[in-house]
């Protein structure tokens, strides 16, 4: 076989191999900030998806081996709009798990699922891979068909003394506007009123939510769905979304059944004061007359 013939054969085989790769497979892969990691500073690795067909539900388990410690997960700019399970790092199994959905679906390349921020403990080699049994993607179809997946892993050499590039961008923007909703359903919370809310922060990602019932200062860290303490719905509700940079966005829900004027203590306070003032005035006037 001549050299040209060999090249021809290799090209044909490559073409064939490309064809036998599942045509609709979604590709899950890692995009590290740099291909070689230093021990002295933090660095980040994005978890991305290339979806040939429209997909709408994701569940993944990222196995992290080697001297790496994930210390922060950034969900900002993720194609996942609602998290079923927020990213969670289990030290024992060394698995980072998460799941969520994209209503309407996502189709395209370089869809960001999340960004993992790491610190390297020491030099060596780290491997990031997907747990095949726990990683699933579903097609955007009426019956939820599981998509075939191409799961890629990555090996990252960790070198002592190398400075990782710092790519911190200051986030001064509060989370996006949002409209919490009060709802009631016999299937959850024994039919009691609950609150649902969700928003996104495109800079640093949402850190947490707080729900304040009746007063802006009487707040509790909350997750949606949140069982309301005040089931009478006669007070204002404030929902704060706070991002990882501390920026805050607050949404207000007006009371559905506002208190009547005679139920407000401060109205009675004013009335009592006015009465006292009047009595005092009358008494003083009478004294002067006498």
């Amino acid at each position: 076989m001549t050299k040209i013939q060999k090249i021809y054969l290799i090209l044909l085989i490559t073409g064939y191999l490309l064809l036998i790769t599942p045509a609709s497979a979604a590709r899950l892969y890692f995009e590290p900030q740099e291909l070689t990691i230093g021990t002295s500073r933090e660095f980040s690795v994005a978890v991305n998806i290339d979806a040939k067909d429209r997909v709408n539900a994701f569940s993944a388990a990222v196995a992290i081996s080697g001297p790496l410690i994930p210390f922060d997960i950034n969900e900002a700019n993720s194609v996942i709009n609602f998290w079923i399970e927020k990213p969670n790092w289990d030290k024992t199994t060394r698995l980072l798990t998460f799941s969520g959905i994209t209503p309407g679906g996502f189709q395209g390349e370089k869809g960001r699922l999340l960004v993992i921020k790491f610190k390297a403990e020491k030099e060596g080699a780290a491997v990031l891979s997907f747990d095949k049994g726990k990683t699933k993607v579903y097609l955007h179809t009426p019956d939820a068909i599981e998509d075939s997946l191409v799961l890629e892993k990555i090996q990252l050499p960790i070198v002592k003394g190398k400075e990782n590039i710092g790519v911190e961008i200051p986030d001064n923007d509060p989370p996006e506007w949002f409209s919490p909703e009060i709802s009631q359903d016999p299937n959850i919370f024994d039919g009691k009123y609950f609150l649902v809310f969700a928003t996104q922060d495109k800079g640093s990602g949402i850190d947490h939510y707080e729900v304040c019932e009746g007063s802006k200062t009487k707040c509790a860290t909350a997750e949606s769905p949140y069982l309301l303490q005040n089931q009478k719905l006669n007070q204002k509700i404030f929902v704060k979304a706070i991002d990882k940079s501390g920026n805050e966005r607050m949404a207000t829900i007006e009371p559905r059944y506002p208190l009547k004027w005679y139920e407000l203590w401060w109205i009675w306070g004013i009335i009592i004061l006015v009465i006292i003032a009047l009595v005092y005035y009358v008494v003083e006037k009478n004294k002067k007359r006498n």
Binding site: A23, E85, D143, A198
Partner: protein
């Protein structure tokens, strides 16, 4: 060159060549789309003549942008107000075709952001502003004159700070409904819906062999096709449609199913309620339904909820990712 190969090599090469010729062009095919995304960014440095009175421009330093200064009749004129810099607006504008006089809804990251009414020509424009720079998933859908919703058209868009992103050429797929849930083989089933006026509607019916037919929509965009079921097998079939007008082609409608069997079962008037995933029965699939499902995720479900799960989700007696995928498909915001 081929003489050097033995017979086995020749066969292998020929098989591979056939595969490459037949299938490679298919894999390179992508959905044709006329969607256009443009980003318009105002000049970063305000300059006299850019059409905006901004930066340090005043009526005296830049009358072109700020207009002429009022001339004082007698007394000394007051000091001019400081021309504060107005930050450019970050916005996204969507435009395209829906259905005449239909409600078009825009979702930003799966939550309703704005709605508008399309014109009698089915054209619409809808915008959202006050955004932070970043990646967003925008979706639009239309609601026809019977309240039937189209499928969601989704656009992942990277928004640039201070710029206006225009997404034009959106063509929302037709709505679709059938008059029977089961049709006696040999009888007709009516497939109908709404799209843009005077469009060519392609109706596809899936079977062993897929059937395609073209009908024309009327002045209000309504279309009707009576499909003869003589030529298709007994069993479950799906139908969907798409529209073409002025060289533009819409996305496909939702696919809806019907059964070809031994009797006719009529379906009532088309309903605007999603076929599945509406857990609180408000005819919408949104964050409330997601929250109800999330409450039962990986928990043993109650007897009452089991009924709902079998009716509105995948009916396997538990809430898992499959159910959330169904919910994401039927999402309305």
């Amino acid at each position: 060159m081929m003489n050097v190969f033995n017979n086995r090599q020749k066969i292998l090469i020929n098989i591979l060549a056939v595969f490459v010729v037949l299938f490679l062009p298919l894999s390179a095919l992508s959905e044709s789309s006329t969607l256009t995304i443009t980003v318009t960014q105002p000049p970063t440095t305000p300059s006299c003549g850019d059409g905006s009175c901004n930066g340090s421009e005043t009526c005296s330093s830049c009358p072109t942008d700020c207009g002429s200064c009022p001339s004082g009749g007698g007394g000394g004129g007051g000091g001019g107000g400081g021309g504060g810099y107005i930050a450019p607006i970050t916005s996204v504008v969507f435009s395209g075709r829906a259905y005449p006089k239909s409600t078009v809804t825009l979702l930003k990251d799966a939550q309703i952001s704005a709605t508008t009414i399309a014109g009698t020509d089915a054209n619409f424009q809808i915008s959202v502003s006050g955004l932070a720079a970043g990646n967003y998933i925008f979706s639009v859908y239309g609601e026809d004159n019977k309240g039937i919703r189209s499928s969601l058209l989704t656009f992942p868009i990277s928004v640039t700070s201070g710029a206006t992103t225009n997404v034009s050429g959106i063509f929302i797929g037709p709505t679709i409904a059938v008059d029977k849930s089961e049709v006696k083989r040999g009888d007709n089933i009516a497939i109908f819906g709404q799209s843009v006026p005077q469009a060519d509607i392609t109706v596809a019916v899936s079977s062993d062999e897929e059937f395609f037919t073209k009908v024309k929509s009327d002045a209000i965009g309504a279309y009707l096709y009576n499909f003869d079921t003589s030529d298709i097998e007994m069993g479950q079939h799906y139908t969907k449609s798409k529209a073409a007008v002025d060289g533009e082609i819409s996305s496909f409608s939702k696919a809806i199913s019907f059964l070809v069997g031994t009797k006719n079962i009529a379906v009532g008037l088309p309903t605007k309620c999603p076929a599945k995933a509406d857990l609180n029965s408000d005819c919408r699939v949104n964050l409330i339904d997601f929250s109800i499902a999330a409450y039962w995720y990986k928990r043993p479900i109650s007897a009452e909820f089991k009924l709902k799960e079998s009716e509105r989700l995948n009916g396997d007696g538990k809430v898992d990712l499959v159910d959330f995928s169904i919910m994401a498909y039927y999402w309305t915001g």
